[in-house]
Subunit: 100 residues, 2 copies
DNA sequence: TATAAATATGAATTTGTATTCATATGTAAT
DNA sequence: ATTACATATGAATACAAATTCATATTTATA
């Protein structure tokens, strides 16, 4: 039963969370993400590939661009649970507040 | 907004998922987990500490034992989302099936 | 068909995280 | 107070995952 840890592992990374946050607003090409997040193109591409492998994002071709969009059906409720968790249980949560 | 990746990172580990799976059934002492999962005691303790820091588990003292229990309120719906995600989107999900 | 634009890929390196092992701390019983 | 039991901790190492950088692919346009 390791599917859970693989899924979590896929999101256990600040850049990927940034990407999620960006794609929450609207779908975007790689270059748009590169510019919005100010990160290396290959970094973004690698991250997107991993996320796509887990169906966290999907992609469509549009001219020479590839437009990535977020799987909101899975991800939005997931983030909501974490928001709720944090506000309810993590008043003292060092790990999540201080970055450890 | 890195709280998400810290939370995910906390669960991005097979042992911790095993612990969750065990605690889903019933609360357990460290030694019980050690025996049930067949892992080193310090390994279990380290894992539990990290999970406790994120309020994924909680602990109570009982004699010389410390009884850990799962934060079901957060974790169960979370796992449910992943189950649903997998059955819906991951027919071909290499990352989650082949362990990459 | 040669060039440019957009993105993807591979492999080496770096970085982060878990594991290990020895030991310390806490708790109760004798 | 000494011992045994249960768990926690720290630090070194091992391991896994992300970053980097150079280059390959893909798609469209001149």
């Amino acid at each position: 039963m390791n599917k859970y840890y693989l899924f979590f592992g896929n999101l256990a990374n600040p850049l990927r969370v940034e990407i999620i946050s960006a794609l929450k607003e609207k779908e975007m090409s790689v270059l748009e993400l590169v510019e919005k997040l100010g990160e290396e193109q290959s970094k973004i591409s690698h991250a997107l590939k991993a996320m796509k492998n887990c169906s966290i994002v999907s992609v469509k071709q549009e001219g020479k661009k590839r437009i990535y969009s977020l799987n909101k059906e899975t991800i939005l409720p997931m983030l909501k649970i974490i928001d709720k968790h944090e506000s309810k249980f993590c008043e003292e949560c060092r790990a999540m507040k201080e970055g450890r």
